[in-house]
């Protein structure tokens, strides 16, 4: 898998730069960022003044649902376009490992998502002017949001490697993110066999993110997200290794 190579990280960095530049060259990503910011802020402020509390909790409760659309939009292109244009043949015959290619794409998507999240920093700043905002939970929630986004992006990236059609990649990733989110919810738990209940509770993103929306992250959450991300990236590498398309 990961071999010791002094240039290992450098190679990922070169690929990462190329992928990130590709985001800024494409209008679709900007459109999705714009929509994400407008919809998110509107939904948040709609209730914010009714509740009359200087808290961002309302926003972070919304975030998993907004990311469910944003993350697949950011990842749909990553493999599907390479396959459609045939550039995947160029990319994967370069002296790079499949892991390097996957990690570079994943981190470029995470970086772009982080930039998008950076644009929402106006929210805590304006709320802090309106009342006394406790920044501790806000910072915790932002960290959690990146982790959650990472999990969605890793899943979306894997889905993108299964098709050459970006629209299909988007819709499948959206559906997959939705499933991942609700699998731990009560109405799902009550409907599945008893043996699967602990698994569903462990995997389900929804319950997990409820903690994060409160701004509380513990090490179990870190392990959970890291293993989830690793799992999807691993599947992605496997999908590349089994390349049979023509």
């Amino acid at each position: 898998m990961i071999k010791r190579d002094p240039h290992y990280i450098r190679t990922i960095y070169i690929l990462f730069k190329k992928e990130l530049a590709a985001y800024f060259n494409s209008p679709i990503a900007y459109i999705f960022i714009g929509a994400f910011l407008v919809v998110g802020n509107w939904l948040f402020f709609k209730n914010f003044f009714l509740l009359g509390q200087a808290s961002l909790r309302g926003y972070f409760v919304l975030l998993p649902w907004l990311f469910m659309f944003l993350a697949p939009a950011l990842t749909m292109r990553l493999w599907a376009e390479e396959k459609k244009m045939g550039t995947i043949e160029f990319l994967l015959t370069l002296p790079i490992t499949n892991w390097q290619a996957v990690l570079a794409k994943f981190f470029s998507a995470v970086a772009f998502l982080a930039i998008t999240l950076g644009l929402t920093l106006s929210l805590p700043l304006s709320v802090a002017r309106l009342g006394s905002l406790d920044f501790g939970p806000v910072i915790g929630s932002y960290v959690g949001a990146i982790l959650l986004g990472g999990a969605y992006l890793a899943l979306g990236l894997f889905v993108s490697s299964l098709t050459r059609n970006q629209i299909i990649a988007f819709i499948l990733a959206l559906a997959a993110c939705f499933l991942l989110f609700i699998v731990g919810e009560d109405f799902v738990i009550s409907g599945i066999p008893k043996a699967l209940v602990p698994v569903a509770q462990f995997v389900g993103l929804g319950q997990r993110f409820a903690n994060i929306a409160r701004g509380v992250i513990d090490s179990r959450d870190f392990i959970y997200y890291a293993s989830l991300i690793w799992f999807w990236l691993w599947l992605n590498v496997k999908a590349l290794e089994g390349r049979k398309w023509q």
Partner: protein
């Protein structure tokens, strides 16, 4: 330099490459010839490490391409058939990316870029977006990308398809020039191209090697009788009968007729010096030759024969 032994690749039920073995020696330009769908591209994709062989072995510079994939990929420059390029990049950005990922030292990048741009004739387009380029320029950018890191081995999949005649000649010249120092394996279905550029040719059909050798060797080995077209001024009744008595002529028939005594004939001969013999015979008979040519390039015959 490249050694292929008992290579097999299957896609489900379809055998794309069926137990082929061959070698490409250092400093050789090897033409990989075959009709579309013969398995040329699949073989190249296995050499470059894009596909894994179902069975058999490929070594590049003594290293196995599956076990030492990264090391062998470093030695190879590859231009895939579809010329995939990143459309959203500028030409020099793309070449810079290739140079970086191929570990070209930073201080060597600019001189190398200049060299490659000049070799491939890209001076006018280095600053342009790749999606604005014509087919010919895309092909050249693809070639520039393949030679950027000065690889020992160059693998080019149909590098001249879709180009106009001038561009084809330029690319062929470039391949010849690179082939003086490097090992080149390139595929084509155009025979004249293989004849003009290659030291050696391998003809592949339905996943199997059906012919191998220098162009001249292939012709003498597999080439049937060459066909000649001859137009002379001679009495019609005598000419055909005379051809039949001429030694070395296997068959003769009338092909077209300009007037009563100007007639075109098609002659078949397996003899290497058939042209001289025919010409001298005509002079002896006092029949003026009005047109005389070889009706088909012999290699084309070989190709048709072998890939039927």
């Amino acid at each position: 330099m490249i050694e292929i032994t008992n290579l097999v690749k299957t896609f489900g039920q379809i055998k794309a490459v069926d137990n082929i073995s061959f070698q490409v020696k250092q400093g050789e330009v090897l033409g990989f010839l075959g009709p579309n769908g013969a398995g040329k591209t699949t073989t190249m994709k296995m050499i470059t490490g894009f596909y894994e062989p179902t069975d058999g072995q490929i070594t590049v510079g003594g290293l196995d391409v599956v076990k030492n994939s990264l090391a062998t990929r470093r030695q190879i420059g590859y231009l895939p058939e579809t010329v995939p390029l990143y459309d959203d990049m500028k030409v020099y950005e793309y070449l810079k990316f290739v140079a970086e990922i191929r570990d070209l030292p930073q201080d060597k990048f600019l001189p190398r870029l200049r060299e490659v741009v000049e070799k491939c004739g890209l001076q006018k387009v280095v600053g342009k977006n790749i999606d604005e380029l014509s087919k010919g320029y895309r092909q050249r950018v693809g070639l520039a990308q393949a030679i950027m890191h000065d690889p020992e081995i160059l693998i080019l999949d149909e590098p001249t398809t879709g180009l106009d005649p001038n561009q084809i000649i330029e690319i062929r010249e470039l391949i010849k020039q690179i082939g003086k120092e490097k090992t080149v394996l390139f595929s084509t279905h155009i025979l004249a191209e293989a004849q003009a550029t290659c030291d050696r040719i391998i003809i592949i059909n339905k996943g199997e090697i059906v012919g191998e050798g220098k162009p001249a060797e292939l012709m003498s080995q597999f080439g049937g009788p060459a066909e000649f077209y001859l137009k002379i001024k001679a009495p019609e009744s005598q000419a055909l009968a005379y051809f039949k008595t001429l030694p070395g002529i296997d068959a003769a028939k009338q092909q077209d007729k300009e007037s009563d005594d100007i007639v075109g004939y098609s002659l078949l001969s397996a003899e290497p010096e058939a042209r001289e013999k025919i010409a001298l015979a005509m002079l002896k008979q006092g029949w003026p030759i009005l047109e005389f040519r070889q009706a088909q390039a012999s290699l084309e015959e070989v190709f048709r024969e072998l890939t039927k």
